[in-house]
Symmetry: C2
Subunit: 341 residues, 2 copies
């Protein structure tokens, strides 16, 4: 099926586009009333993720309600650990928790390489979402980066310091590389499945990129992200490594198409470090959407000017905060659409 | 009283020293058995902070037990909000919580400028600690940066995103500046009191420097840190703005003596950005201390080589993790002491 709006795909490939495409991380979620209604129909977040018809419905909502140039499949980065053998629960206000964790070589026997077959419910959600989208905009698939998944699988929950996974990198690098390899292999199968099911682009989220010193980050995270990038040639690949300031020059060398910037990354400086080839995505401070329309316009214009209108996909610098007024999100999107350099 | 070991003061002033001085953030704390014993004698963390004799005792413990070149007064950054009129509680495993918060101009009437008089218990702890130290090593005083205290006073607790304070900066800059002014004025009085009580250096901790885009960080945080720095000329001032990657060049322009680097800040790049004048402090990844002695030695040597043996105070890049083996901390300290460039 041909796409009526393929702006983001052309932009992701580095082509000049008639205007800057825009979408918003976490656009399918709690900011929308329609999402909260569907969420109330199921027992919990994980059930919503596992119910393809509903997951597809919340995926498509922001296209009409917010006017974004892409949908992103409603899912969770933790489906991979679960498919590998570590189930998780999502605790209200607390976040994810893994009743069992992995910490040493013996634990790896509990795990298996997973992929599209174990995650058929995601594939089905993508197929249904593609039908519902009916070619209006492209659909983005996604996954967590191996390092970020490693953090949750070893720590068992969110953490300010993630000292368990960091300890493992220094105290048992052999185990660490083995587990990262298993996650990477699963992730490649999973992304290839998403693409076969219909994903038009894919994004890799490395949420915990910022907690490792540069040489350690490059050895234990970027190495595996690069392996994934090299395996995916079917569609454009976006890498969003939050807080990876020190490694921006290395991000510029990845075999991917687009690099996401968080809101703390200076745009001009990041372009210099990453080089002229990559498309950049981002990076408005999500907290700007708490301000007045005048403030939102001012900050959005400055952002667009700094990116210079080429090789840019507009977005926030992180997921939209759940208590953001959807009118403000719409205003941000309209501001991007109406802007011309 | 003259100091028997004044290495760190001379280093902080930019003088060449016979070796690199070393101390460890959070050295007075849970890693030490002696601390845990004293902590068990009181009802909670806040009571320990408010009992000068005991606070002084845990302050001095690491001098003998770890061999550090400085003590740092055992206290908490949240004593300032409490003295201004916002009491807090420290919840086991959850961290601090403020039953009341401030969010609008009217709330400011609940607060008053505070300082050494309201925080006499800290002054007394410093005086007792100085007696116990008996000139063996200098004593470091400290405070939270106004922006970091603003975060806790408005959000009411720790947070991954601190969206409440960030929202205020965009939605009510007038209120934000007023509150930051009050905190700054209190902090100056507090630090001057600490110096009168005997602090030989002071450190300003900006724990949440990393969550604001550069222009916002400079307008709402660095501006106030600079005001504090300009008011303190009696002793060397250390500024540790964790995650302030994008503002390192601006940190280099502060009227302070020492800039702390966290473990993600590349040493060579940071020196270039900050310039040749400032002394740098840091920055070993605290997770390295989970590794073998061989690993610790390797990473410590590399760090010392990159700092180049001048204008450097060795430290971790953040507080030592509570589950770190104190033998590993001692080994790190010995490794610094035995190193010669």
């Amino acid at each position: 099926m041909s796409l009526k709006n393929d702006l983001i795909i052309r932009a992701a490939r580095g082509e000049n586009t008639e205007r800057t495409p825009v979408w918003v991380m976490r656009q399918a979620g709690r900011i929308l009333k329609g999402y909260r209604q569907i969420r109330a129909q199921v027992s919990g977040f994980v059930e919503l993720v596992k119910t393809p018809e509903l997951a597809a419905e919340v995926t498509v909502q922001p296209v009409d309600l917010l006017g974004v140039d892409a949908a992103i499949i409603f899912s969770d980065i933790l489906v991979i650990p679960e498919a590998m053998g570590l189930p998780y629960v999502m605790e209200e206000k607390k976040g994810p928790r893994f009743p069992q964790t992995v910490n040493r070589n013996d634990d790896l026997n509990k795990l298996s390489i997973a992929g599209e077959h174990e995650l058929e419910y995601v594939m089905e959600a993508i197929r249904v979402a593609k039908q519902k989208l009916d070619g209006r905009v492209p659909l983005i698939g996604f996954t967590g980066a191996p390092w970020t998944l490693f953090c949750y699988m070893t720590e068992g929950k969110g953490s300010k310091t993630f000292s368990v996974p960091r300890k493992l990198l220094y105290s048992d690098p052999e185990f660490s590389h083995k587990l990262l390899d298993m996650i990477t292999e699963s992730t490649i199968r999973y992304l290839k499945g998403q693409i076969r099911a219909g994903a038009d682009l894919v994004q890799i989220f490395d949420s915990w990129a910022g907690i490792l010193p540069k040489p350690i980050y490059e050895a234990f995270s970027l190495k595996y992200i690069e392996k994934i990038c090299q395996s995916i040639s079917e569609v454009p690949v976006i890498v969003f490594a939050k807080d990876a300031y020190a490694s921006r020059a290395s991000l510029g060398k990845l075999s991917c198409d687009v690099i996401g910037l968080d809101w703390n990354m200076d745009i001009i400086e990041s372009r210099k470090l990453i080089g002229p080839d990559k498309v950049l995505q981002g990076n408005l401070d999500p907290a700007v959407l708490y301000g007045s329309n005048k403030e939102i316009e001012k900050h959005t214009h400055r952002m667009l000017q700094e990116f210079g209108g080429i090789k840019h996909i507009a977005n926030l610098g992180h997921g939209v905060y759940p208590d953001t007024d959807p009118d403000k999100v719409r205003f941000f999107i309209e501001t991007v659409k109406n802007f011309s350099n």
